[in-house]
Structures are given as structure tokens and as C-alpha cells.
């Protein structure tokens, strides 16, 4: 999995590429930790180039969302693929983590 972090005007975007599975958790955590250390309060995980998500990845997303929520920071997911969206929906994650279908939607939500 490749991880790329960019700072947008209204939020920090962590873009993931490839398969996000248990093996990618360390990279993911490192990216989140770096963003946190840089003072990020609004974080979007860009899933549009994630070809496969497994159950372990869902747990890591929920855990990260929980930490952000506890610290009154914002967390969301951007443009999951069909496979990703199916998994998120089956697991009910879309009910606890905001899922944005476009960057405009994410920008608007995080501008508030």
C-alpha cells in the first residue's frame, strides 16, 4: 500500500493506493501520527485508489475515527470504490464515519 499525505486548504488528506489490509496498518498509523503531530484537526482518508479493503482495515478506520472523535477532531472517508463502499455499508461503518463522494462534499463538510 502506498500512502501520501497532502495538506488541503480545509483539511489534511491521506491518500491510500493499493490494498489496505492488516499489513498496511503500520504505514497507516504512521501517516495518522505524523498528521496529528503537524496539528491536523480535520482528516480525510482518500480511498478512491484502494483496490481492496479487508476487515482488519475497517477496524483500523473505526479505531482512528474513535480517537479523532474523542479529541473533538474531524475524520472522514473520501470516495471508496464499489467494493470498499459495499464493505463499509455491510459493516455499518457509514453510520459512524462520514463518507464523502466528492472532494467538494468533503471540503464543504470540513469548512464548517
Amino acid at each position: 500500500m502506498q500512502v501520501e499525505t497532502t495538506v488541503q486548504p480545509t483539511y489534511t488528506r491521506v491518500r491510500l493506493k493499493g490494498s489496505f489490509t492488516y499489513d498496511g496498518r503500520i504505514q497507516f498509523k504512521e501517516a495518522i501520527d505524523k498528521a496529528t503531530q503537524a496539528g491536523c484537526t480535520k482528516l480525510i482518508i482518500d480511498l478512491q485508489e484502494v483496490s481492496f479493503l479487508d476487515s482488519a482495515a475497517l477496524g483500523i478506520l473505526v479505531l482512528t475515527n474513535r480517537k479523532f472523535t474523542e479529541e473533538k477532531r474531524q475524520f472522514g472517508l473520501l470516495k471508496p470504490t464499489d467494493q470498499g463502499l459495499k464493505l463499509l455499508t455491510i459493516a455499518g461503518i457509514h453510520k459512524i464515519i462520514p463518507v464523502y463522494q466528492s472532494e467538494q462534499e468533503a471540503t464543504a463538510a470540513h469548512a464548517a
Binding site: F52, A56, L58, V62, L63, R66, Q83, K86, A91
Partner: protein
């Protein structure tokens, strides 16, 4: 004739545990007694223990017996020459990493090339200066020490791997012992299943067991992740779902209450690990199935003369919401109905184009084989999923459990 294999110098305590020689051993194989005498004296002065052999056959026997740190072979000898010995040594699994130098009066490039190609590690010219011979021998001994260290490390890793593999197999046997026996768990129900963990140990487990006098308890669970950690957590959940424990923690066999209790008992771990779980309680006197799902979507009820129904609830996986509650649904199980519990590993198989096989295709295969035995339908589902992903091995644990309600009288006849 000179008595060979004479130890001429060096201490008796010849090795330290890590395989680094204290007084390295050298075997000198040469049919020229004068040259042996000179070389032995030179090597003795350097502190090595030196053994001698006077021809190739004897040399090969001594390499096998002594496994010296370095063997110096004369190129031309009667019966078996130096390159022949090199080739024998390289074919022997126990000796193939031995350090061997070939020695010759000629040091033509084509000879050196042939010697190296036939298995020598280095080349010594008989005409070389004492200083050069000394330096080359010392380099050979250093290489030998490194090769032996690598061999010891490799052996230690292999031994550890074997131990771990044995432990994993033992754990896998235990996990397998938790699975129900196919057949007739209660009169009127036939049970079949097929399970393929993605690793030696799987994180998916299922159960079909009596809960008290009136219920058949069913569950299918998926501990996120794979391997040892997932299997341990799955086994812990199976213990939680033991009927005695269920009565204690949820005071009933109501699936929603069971999941609520499990949600409290198994919070999301600090590593983001969690369970998805489907629980059903089939009330045998009325054949009514009550069920609840914590993020588990793979249970479908197939009926001979009605549409199939996926038995899922829009409730979160265990641990996602610490205060979560779980709703209980209900279905009647009629004669001929079949209930399939599938792990996501079966229907989330991906094609080469990363397209998921999906529940709809799973349902179609199940329905296509509705009149065939359940174990046949299960086998067909596995075949179709494997064909979709064009691979025999599943990337996630794959389990498919099938239960069929049959006529109790027929069931008795079938068993006879």
C-alpha cells in the same frame, strides 16, 4: 607408506558454540609427501590443526568424517583428482558448504576457471610465495567461519520454524475440534459444511449446538485479521457462546441480547480488532428461528417455493459502538428450507479485475442446486468462487455451513 590423517597441531577444544573456530582445521590432500611436509609445517606455524590425506579417495573420506574448516586439494592425483572431489562434495548436502581450495603447479586462467566451475572456492598456486599462500589460507578460513555461522543460523531458524509449525498444527487441531460434526445435530436438521482457513489457523468459526432442551443454537463469527491472534480471539468468542455462559451473561437465548452482551464483553481492541457475528436460536418445538447480526451479512434462507431471504440486520460489528444494541429478527423454518451461513471469504473473492464475486452470485449457485444435497451445493459454491478468483487458495478464511430442515421420519430412515 606414510600413515595419513595425522593431527599435527592445535588445541583439543576446537569450537565455540557459535561455530567460530578457535583452532581451525585444515585438510591437506596431496599425493606428494614432500610438498605435504612443507605445507604442514607452514600451516602449523599459523596455529591450525592440520590433517593429511595422500590421495583423492582418502581425502573425500576424511572430508566427510572431519568436516574441516578448509580443504586444500592438489589438482592432479591418482584415482580421483581435485576437481572430481570438489564435484562430489558439492553434491553432498552435508558437505556442500565446505570451503575448498584447489592447488596446482599451473595457474593458467582456464585452469582456474575450470576449478571454480567444478566447485572450488579458491585457487592456490604451488609456486605462490609463502606470504600469498598464508594470506589466501587465512581468507579461506574466514570465509569458512562465516559460512558455518550462516549454516548454524539457518539450522536454528529451521528448527524454530519446525517448532512453531508443530505448535500451529496443534492449535489448528484444537480450533477444528471446536467445529460441529456434520450430520444430524437434532432430529429434523441435516448439517453440512466446508471450511478452508487462509492460513494454518483461521479467525472464522461457526457453531451448531443444543442450547438447553428447546433450542438449536447457531452462530458464525469472523474475528478480524488472520492467523494466531484472530484464531485465539475466535476461540475466546466460542467459549463466550457456550450455552451455560449465555444464560449467565444474557439471561436468555435471545440473539439480540446475546450480541448486546458480546458487544460489552468484546470491545474494539487497541489494534482495531473486532468481531462480526451472526447468532440464531432455532426454537425446535415451533421451528421458529430468531436471529441477530453484528455486521455479519452472509446468512441466507432458501426456500423451495419462495424467494430466498438474507437474514441480516443493519447493526454494527461488535465493539464499533460501546453502547450498541442489537435487534432480533424472526423467520419460520419450514420443511425443505435451507439455511446457509457463509463467511465473507467465500463471496468476497476477487476476480483478476478486482471485481467481487458477491452475495448475488453465491445465492444463484445455491438456488441452482436447491434440489441436490446440501453438501453438493456447498461444494459447487466453493468451486464457483475459486473459478471466479482463478485461484485455489482463498485470501481470507472461507467457510460455508448449510442446514436443511428435513422430515424427522425421513431423517430416521436416512440414518438407517
Amino acid at each position: 607408506m606414510e600413515e595419513p590423517s595425522l593431527e599435527v597441531s592445535g588445541s583439543q577444544g576446537d569450537r565455540v558454540a557459535e561455530g567460530v573456530p578457535r583452532a581451525a582445521t585444515i585438510l591437506l590432500v596431496d599425493d606428494d609427501p614432500i610438498f605435504r611436509l612443507i605445507m604442514v609445517a607452514r600451516l602449523e606455524k599459523l596455529g591450525y590443526r592440520v590433517f593429511q590425506a595422500e590421495d583423492g579417495g582418502q581425502g573425500l573420506e576424511m572430508i566427510r568424517r572431519l568436516q574441516p574448516d578448509l580443504t586444500i586439494l592438489d589438482w592432479i592425483m591418482p584415482k580421483m583428482d581435485g576437481p572430481d572431489i570438489c564435484e562430489w562434495v558439492r553434491r553432498d548436502p552435508l558437505l556442500k558448504s565446505s570451503q575448498i581450495f584447489l592447488m596446482s603447479g599451473h595457474d593458467r586462467p582456464e585452469d582456474i576457471e575450470e576449478g571454480l566451475n567444478r566447485g572450488a572456492d579458491g585457487f592456490l598456486s604451488k609456486d605462490a610465495s609463502p606470504l600469498e599462500i598464508t594470506a589466501r589460507v587465512q581468507a579461506g578460513i574466514r570465509s569458512s567461519a562465516l559460512v558455518r555461522q550462516l549454516a548454524y543460523a539457518r539450522d536454528a531458524i529451521l528448527a524454530r520454524e519446525q517448532t512453531l509449525e508443530a505448535e500451529l498444527q496443534s492449535a489448528a487441531s484444537f480450533i477444528e475440534s471446536l467445529l460441529p460434526s456434520p450430520g444430524v445435530p437434532v432430529p429434523g436438521i441435516h448439517l453440512s459444511w466446508h471450511y478452508r482457513p487462509s492460513l494454518t489457523l483461521g479467525g472464522d468459526l461457526f457453531g451448531v449446538t443444543r442450547w438447553g432442551r428447546d433450542y438449536l443454537g447457531l452462530f458464525m463469527l469472523d474475528a478480524s485479521g488472520h492467523g494466531v491472534s484472530a484464531a485465539l480471539r475466535a476461540a475466546s468468542m466460542v467459549a463466550f457462546l457456550h450455552p451455560d455462559n449465555l444464560i449467565r451473561v444474557s439471561e436468555s437465548y435471545d440473539p439480540g441480547a446475546i450480541l448486546s452482551a458480546a458487544n460489552r464483553r468484546f470491545p474494539l481492541s487497541s489494534e482495531g480488532e473486532y468481531f462480526t457475528l451472526w447468532v440464531g436460536a432455532l426454537h425446535l418445538p415451533t421451528w421458529r428461528l430468531r436471529y441477530a447480526s453484528a455486521g455479519y451479512a452472509g446468512v441466507v434462507l432458501c426456500r423451495p417455493h419462495a424467494n430466498s431471504v438474507w437474514l441480516e440486520q443493519a447493526d454494527l460489528a461488535l465493539g464499533f459502538d460501546p453502547d450498541g444494541t442489537f435487534t432480533t429478527g424472526e423467520q419460520e423454518i419450514r420443511l425443505g428450507d435451507r439455511l446457509y451461513l457463509s463467511s465473507d471469504g467465500v463471496y468476497e473473492a476477487l476476480s483478476a479485475e478486482q471485481v467481487m464475486w458477491g452475495k448475488e452470485r453465491l445465492q444463484r449457485v445455491i438456488e441452482r442446486h436447491a434440489t441436490r444435497p446440501v453438501d453438493y451445493a456447498i461444494d459447487q459454491c466453493f468451486q464457483a468462487s475459486r473459478a471466479w478468483q482463478q485461484a485455489e487458495h482463498f485470501r481470507d478464511d472461507a467457510a460455508l455451513v448449510g442446514l436443511e430442515r428435513v422430515d424427522e421420519q425421513q431423517d430416521g430412515i436416512t440414518l438407517l
